[in-house]
């Protein structure tokens, strides 16, 4: 497969703060590539540079064979962008929004109308197309936001955390639509901090943290990199301090890492089932009540934890 996107040592700094630290990767035509990382990792800054909104401090990238710094208009025509935050006119209807944005992408006349109808059908809002966007639910607005990015049928679609802050049903609909788009030949760069989404959608995943691309590969390649480790997750009550339990658990032989996220302790270990009894005993000794326990096989969460020492949602 040929590369539709090639990124070479792309960097962006704001004064002394390096938001993106010289990352390199490529995306092949027809794949879904996810940039997985916590909030503030540099995902949106990367998308903003690739979509020509921000000028890179250094490095270069080419999209559809065009430089993002020299051939910006050609790049803009090749890409579609679904921004993280809604970028719509709330006092216009869905149809009016799509008409406006379609014209911004050079569509007009009959082809515009046909394309707007197709997109409205695609996002399931053809019956409510005349209502003002401000009357829509959060999920419906998200769908219009995505629809705008699809209007001109771009070869490469950037989706920047499109499921943030929406209900599970809308989230499911969006994930399914991403898969459909990909089946129909669209290449997708998808950013998220939800491991499950990256696992479900992606052909390949890049893990980004503090502006660095710390790992890249298929899900299988990435999980293999952390070895045959399981993740033991202990859910504790809100009244208890999970840090105390985390410190105690680290003393157990066979525990590679133990990190706290909200009211849970994540333990990386190659022998989860064998350690279980010891962990419960130590929790009892500390007077900490464990509400539930999960044992997960190697996944991207474990990869992130292994690479950074922190949980993905930190």
């Amino acid at each position: 497969m040929s590369a539709i996107l090639e990124v070479h040592k792309l960097a962006k700094s704001y004064g002394n703060f390096d938001a993106v630290k010289g990352i390199s990767f490529e995306i092949h035509e027809g794949e879904i590539f996810s940039l997985l990382g916590p909030n503030g990792a540099g995902k949106t800054t990367t998308i903003s540079m690739l979509s020509t909104l921000y000028t890179p401090t250094s490095g270069e990238a080419t999209i559809c064979g065009y430089s993002i710094t020299k051939d910006t208009m050609a790049v803009k025509k090749c890409i579609g962008v679904v921004p993280q935050d809604l970028a719509l006119y709330e006092d216009l209807s869905a149809r009016e929004n799509l008409n406006f944005w379609g014209q911004m992408y050079g569509l007009s006349g009959k082809s515009l109308k046909i394309r707007v109808d197709e997109v409205l059908e695609q996002i399931g809002l053809i019956d409510k197309a005349k209502l003002k966007v401000k009357t829509y639910s959060g999920g419906m607005k998200r769908r219009v936001n995505i629809g705008v990015g699809l209007l001109h049928q771009p070869r490469l679609l950037f989706m920047d955390e499109p499921t943030v802050g929406i209900d599970p049903q809308s989230r499911r609909a969006i994930l399914d639509s991403v898969k459909d788009l990909n089946i129909n030949g669209m290449t997708v760069l998808y950013t998220t901090h939800y491991m499950e989404e990256a696992e479900e959608l992606s052909n390949r995943v890049g893990i980004i943290d503090h502006g660095d691309l710390i790992a890249i590969g298929t899900q299988e390649e990435l999980t293999k990199s952390v070895g045959e480790t399981d993740t033991l997750i202990l859910h504790v009550g809100e009244e208890t301090n999970p840090e105390t339990l985390s410190e105690e658990v680290r003393k157990i032989k066979g525990v590679l890492k133990a990190e706290v996220t909200d009211h849970q302790v994540s333990i990386i270990t190659p022998t989860a089932e064998e350690l279980l009894a010891q962990v419960v005993t130590r929790a009892n000794n500390l007077g900490i009540k464990i509400k539930s326990i999960d044992i997960r096989e190697p996944n991207l969460e474990a990869v992130f934890l292994n690479l950074t020492g922190r949980a993905l949602r930190d």
Partner: protein, 417 residues
């Protein structure tokens, strides 16, 4: 160009769907015009607010019937709230008062003025008429225009009286009803009667007859309505400038920037949208006041030219605010302040001619000042030629403001980072 227009029309559509903005754009200027109209007695035919109180100086060297009639007219109760006359005997001192910006105009009634119009010998063929002189303050064109209007009304009525008096005496002579020795006495009597009639019936009001013969009623609303319209035009343009920052914060401006649309097209579209909104606002207000208050704004073509120039200059201010300030909240606050300051400076509330020199000088930075000068000229019967200076001033203002804004935007970008 197509995308520029699409962006502009989208902005106009959004503004016209914003009820709060519509209230400010249309209802507020209407309400204030009506309120001030009621306060000034414009609807009842009485003017009692002293909204103008134009300071003028009369130098009467004539002391004949017509000179005295003119003096009585400017001192009449009907004009008491419009004029603040002062009487001097030294023309040079009076002119210096104008030069020093202490008064709006000097009305000089030369010696022999009455006799040149109502000669002692009505059979004389002398056509030399000694003219009144109006020495106006160029920094107060509105005030000078009003005084000029009053003088023209006075002269017009005197002229009608003179011609009819001369005609009557001549016909009496030709018919043999009187002999030449009686003509002089009868002529004087007719002249005196004519003068008495004018003063006695107070027929001179704030009316004028244009050269074309069309009656133009000078209405206080002709000052109030454009004043309010221009003041709220500043609200509209600052609100328009604000939308640029609202779009930046709301993500639609960055989204436009990542579409295959140039910064020039986007900025041009925003500017054109603000201009169109301002233009629409003024046109609607003009049509509304014409229909509701029977207000005559003057020559329609000239009004349209002036409206376009005023909207363009005001748009320059709106876009400059967006270029200088960082948040939409800042633009709202500063825009409101500028709206009020320009309203006061530009003469929306009071006659700028009675303000100190420096205020009058500073007022030139406001589109309100030039716009109001132009509208007043047109309301008093002026045409396109009479508003050349305000229009050029507004266009220069617009060009300068756009230039500064473009330079500022080119330094910081219109929506990036």
């Amino acid at each position: 160009m197509r995308k520029l227009l699409i962006i502009a029309f989208k902005d106009v559509l959004l503004i016209f769907r914003d009820r709060a903005a519509l209230l400010f754009m249309f209802l507020a200027p209407f309400a204030l015009t009506i309120g001030l109209g009621l306060a000034t007695g414009s609807f009842s035919g009485k003017s009692n607010s002293g909204i103008l109180d134009l300071p003028i100086v009369i130098v009467n060297e004539d002391n004949g019937q017509l000179g005295n009639a003119l003096v009585e007219m400017v001192q009449s109760d009907q004009l008491a709230d419009l004029l603040e006359p002062e009487f001097l005997t030294d023309l040079e001192i009076a002119r210096k008062m104008v030069d020093d910006n202490k008064t709006v105009a000097v009305v000089y009634i030369p010696a022999g003025f009455t006799n040149s119009i109502i000669p002692n010998d009505v059979t004389s063929n002398s056509t030399q008429i000694i003219q009144l002189e109006l020495y106006g303050n160029p920094s107060s064109p509105t005030g000078v225009g009003i005084v000029k209007n009053l003088l023209e009304q006075f002269i017009s009525e005197v002229e009608v009286g003179r011609v009819s008096g001369t005609l009557a005496v001549t016909q009496l002579l030709e018919s043999g009803a009187i002999d030449p020795s009686q003509a002089m006495k009868i002529g004087q009597a007719v002249g005196e009667l004519q003068t008495d009639t004018q003063v006695g019936t107070s027929s001179i009001k704030l009316n004028n007859v244009t050269a074309a013969g069309t009656e133009v009623k000078f209405n206080m609303l002709a000052l109030l309505a454009p004043g309010m319209a221009l003041m709220f035009l500043m609200y509209t343009v600052s609100n328009g400038g604000r939308t640029l920052l609202v779009e930046k914060a709301g993500g639609t401006l960055p989204r436009m920037l990542i579409s295959p649309t140039s910064s020039f097209q986007i900025l041009g579209g925003k500017v054109f949208g603000i201009f169109l909104t301002g233009l629409a606002q003024l046109v609607i207000l003009i049509l509304g006041t014409t229909l509701l208050f029977k207000l005559d704004w003057g020559d329609p073509l000239a009004v349209l030219v002036l409206v376009a120039a005023a909207a363009l200059a005001a748009t320059g201010w709106g876009i400059l605010l967006a270029a200088v300030l960082k948040t939409s909240g800042q633009v709202s606050a500063v825009g409101t302040a500028i709206m009020l300051i320009f309203g006061i400076l530009g003469g929306s509330f009071t006659n700028i001619g009675i303000m100190p020199n420096w205020v009058q000088w500073v007022s030139r930075i406001s589109p309100n000042r030039w716009g109001l000068d132009g509208f007043t000229n047109l309301a008093m019967g002026g045409n396109l030629a009479n508003i050349v200076i305000p229009v050029i001033a507004l266009l220069i203002m617009a060009a300068a403001l756009f230039l500064v804004s473009v330079v500022l935007f080119s330094h910081r970008g219109i929506g990036k980072e």
